[in-house]
Symmetry: C2
Subunit: 501 residues, 2 copies
């Protein structure tokens, strides 16, 4: 009975709270309406001044930037396809809870959508978590896929260095239970192929393993509960000097100075197979189970990379930690090296252009029964690559074409609009890329100038004499050569003359 | 009587039980909310049950759907490029005020981002307003561009019919001051080319002009202030019968019944050049300046479309109104016609797959000095097209490949992982699309089966004898034929045998 009364009382409270909330919602709605009306009155007056800009940290891609972007994408996609990947796509937003608890300290950078009734949504922060959600939702245990799409981070933009709030990621991942290190090695091969293909200059791919890091933390005396946060500190080593990282560990994160110093010794190590062998003999590390596992797999990885012929660009680097929470095994990051010059002893890294690693637990976080699907993947940091390609193109003399038009349909005299329309329609229907000026009576000079400006290689000129003779005058813009071509051979002639395009 | 009492008592019990259940449900909801808050505070417990889904009105594209999507995109992009278009891209969100006042009654469907400090942002609702913002911001007065990207509307999704909250638009627009109707005619030619190319079945492109509509409203006695809202009512004619639209005009929007009836007579008219001529003689319309202008241009448009040879699919239709506020001239919409059958007299439209029109004032709304840039454009409603292509593929026997892999690198015996890795690396470096199973010692049968399943046409088999002889055994999956190929000729041999792919 008392229980019944309690239930009733609680129900009454719930009812009252709901009424209060409904009232508050009503008021909020009314206020919003008034504000909107005010805004619309404002624009009607024509006095409201628009701020003409894209949102902070974003940019438009004009035709020139798009031409560069498509070149880079083409190289990347053809590599992904060369490795037999399928392609998927997911929505730009996910349920908010899908992203919750996946990004550690970076969760504050997630963009949320306004609650307009219905589900709570957030913009995707990367393509990896949506991929894991996709696998769990569709019970897929085995796939090799790529996904190229925009992701969103409320970060401090540094746009000149290619850091934006809206940016592309190009992800390639292999999901499934396989023999160790074979897919992992392929991911590194892919990074090597793409960076070589794009000719971005010298680069190095740093490799480490979360298990080696965890083992290292353990033998240095870091308490288990501090592994992730100390890992975040180590992750900063590519940007700030060790002294600063050390004082964060000791000062902010409460690590003992001795433990920090032991870490300091390890994280300056980098090398190849020799370093792996050395650490396998390390009296402390070799006693730690996870570190030993990680080192064993690292050795196997290097064997496979040797068969791929790419170890020259690989550096086993104990300072590499990667920021994200979800990695469980191999991690890696590719950095471009500054062009060497006489004054600099060692090449300096100018920034990460690709990264990735193994995340065997992420899919299980979404599966109702916690079933795991091991995954390893790589993400190409395409924005920084765009920046470099853009700068390079600006510095060069190359004039980039932004259309593929093969021929301009032109006329030498007035009153030939109808003839131009008929001819261009024939060309389009035959699959020829053709343009014309949208003027009734354009001057021939203006038409030729348009070709010079836009790089159109051919001009098909109709004139009264040509119409009578059943020919079209074909002008080759580069050489100024002109030939009469019979109308029925025109398509074939254009195809032959532009076949190299 | 006793029975009645018993029934009443039972009813009362049922009522109470129901009330208890309702209370319990309320409490359960509150508890669920608390649990969710708790879960968000500490996902570490791992007890929180995720809802495994994509947000309402959105979907993932798996490899098969992507293969279909890429086919459709290819047809559309190659048409846009054939017409000499450049390509641009803009951010997925805009400043909220950029979208304000552009969409009339539909503004309520815009997704806003949460105010997390900084600018107020909204997801783009279409690609036209961002295009106009881009032109004004960069002071571009002359461009022909396409843009393919996702847009967002908080609409009631009807996913089986291809209506989503996140969906692609494929837009082609021509901006600039040109001689009348030449770019407008090209937009219609493009719709005709794309729908013919995709072989979606019979279609009709309805055409009208906002100036003809406005003139018609004027001569029918619609007050100026009601033009836009009456236009919205007319826009519903493709979904609901005239009687319903009429009662909305008279009942909700306060139009006089006589004016509504006059509109009713006009909006049932549709035809070609003959109808244009007839309306140019119409005693009322011909006296209206804007209507006359619109009809004159419509006549010119039909002349150009005749030269393009596409008037057969064009219908001048006075009931076409288009929902958006920003149109100022020609408007059009392409609808697919249901396959005719014996029982149906006239083909019925099954939905719009493309639409567009002229919007000469939109860019001026963004320019600080109100400078106008005339624009006309078309948007392809690709989601409905995907739905049709998907349904068609499912009905057909065609097996769609989701990768382009040319060869599987396989082994017939154990302990040949290293040899497979070496060979596949050579193939990748030569640009061959190659895969291998990620197992140390896969069975040959499993490797061959993988090829059958995924459609890989060739298998390169390494075995001890082949290694000794310096050859690779190349198996043609379809014919089961096997040939020994010298290792140095393998790349060339694979290229020749897959050149038709």
């Amino acid at each position: 009975m008392a229980e019944e009364a309690a239930v009733r009382a609680q129900a009454e409270t719930v009812r009252r709270l709901k009424q209060d909330k409904a009232d508050a919602d009503e008021i909020a709605k009314e206020v919003a309406k008034l504000l909107e009306m005010k805004a619309q009155l404002g624009t009607d007056e024509g006095k409201h001044k628009f701020v003409l800009k894209t949102p902070k940290g974003t940019r438009d891609f004009g035709p020139k930037e798009m031409a560069i972007r498509e070149r880079a994408f083409k190289a990347i996609i053809s590599c992904f396809k060369r490795h037999g990947a399928e392609v998927i796509d997911t929505p730009v937003f996910e349920l908010k809870e899908t992203l919750t608890g996946k990004y550690g300290e970076d969760a504050k950078l997630i963009y949320d959508l306004k609650d307009q009734g219905g589900e709570l949504l957030s913009l995707r922060y990367d393509l990896t978590v949506p991929f894991a959600r996709y696998l769990a939702m569709n019970k897929i245990t085995n796939i090799k896929r790529y996904h190229i799409a925009k992701v969103y981070r409320r970060d401090n933009p540094a746009m000149t260095r290619g850091r934006y709030r809206e940016f592309y990621q190009c992800d390639f991942d292999i999901a499934g239970q396989f023999d160790p290190m074979i897919p992992d090695a392929e991911c590194l091969k892919i990074v090597h192929e793409i960076l070589s293909d794009l000719q971005l200059g010298d680069f190095v791919i740093k490799v480490n393993d979360r298990r080696i890091l965890d083992g290292m933390f353990a033998v240095c005396g870091v308490p288990d509960s501090k592994f992730r946060t100390i890992c975040s500190s180590v992750d900063k080593l590519d940007k700030v000097p060790w002294e600063e990282v050390r004082s964060e560990m000791v000062g902010e994160k409460g690590l003992s100075p001795e433990a920090a110093d032991r870490i300091g010794e390890y994280v300056q190590l980098h090398g190849g197979l020799d370093l792996i062998e050395q650490l396998l003999q390390d009296p402390k590390l070799s006693q730690n189970k996870v570190a030993k596992e990680g080192l064993g797999d690292m050795k196997l990885l290097f064997e496979y990379l040797t068969l791929f012929g790419i170890t020259e660009k690989i550096s086993f680097d104990l300072s590499l930690a990667r920021g994200l929470d979800y990695y469980t095994g191999v991690i890696f990051e590719a950095v471009l090296l500054q062009q060497e010059n006489e004054h600099v002893e060692e090449p300096v890294s100018v920034g990460s252009v690709a990264g990735g690693g193994r995340y065997d637990g992420l899919v299980g976080m979404f599966d109702p029964k916690g079933r795991k699907v091991p995954c390893v993947g790589v993400s190409i940091g395409i924005e920084r690559i765009f920046s470099i390609l853009e700068q390079r193109l600006e510095a060069s003399e190359e004039k980039i074409r932004t259309t593929e038009t093969q021929v301009l349909v032109a006329s030498a005299q007035k009153k030939l609009l109808e003839e131009r329309l008929k001819l261009i329609s024939e060309l389009w229907d035959a699959g020829i890329k053709a343009e014309m000026l949208y003027k009734k009576n354009p001057k021939l000079l203006n038409q030729l100038q348009y070709c010079e400006e836009t790089g159109i290689p051919l001009v098909a000129i109709v004139g009264e004499q040509e119409l009578k003779d059943g020919v079209v005058k074909l002008r080759i813009v580069a050489t100024r050569e002109e030939v009469n071509v019979r109308r029925e051979s025109l398509v074939e002639e254009i195809r032959i003359r532009t076949s190299q395009c």
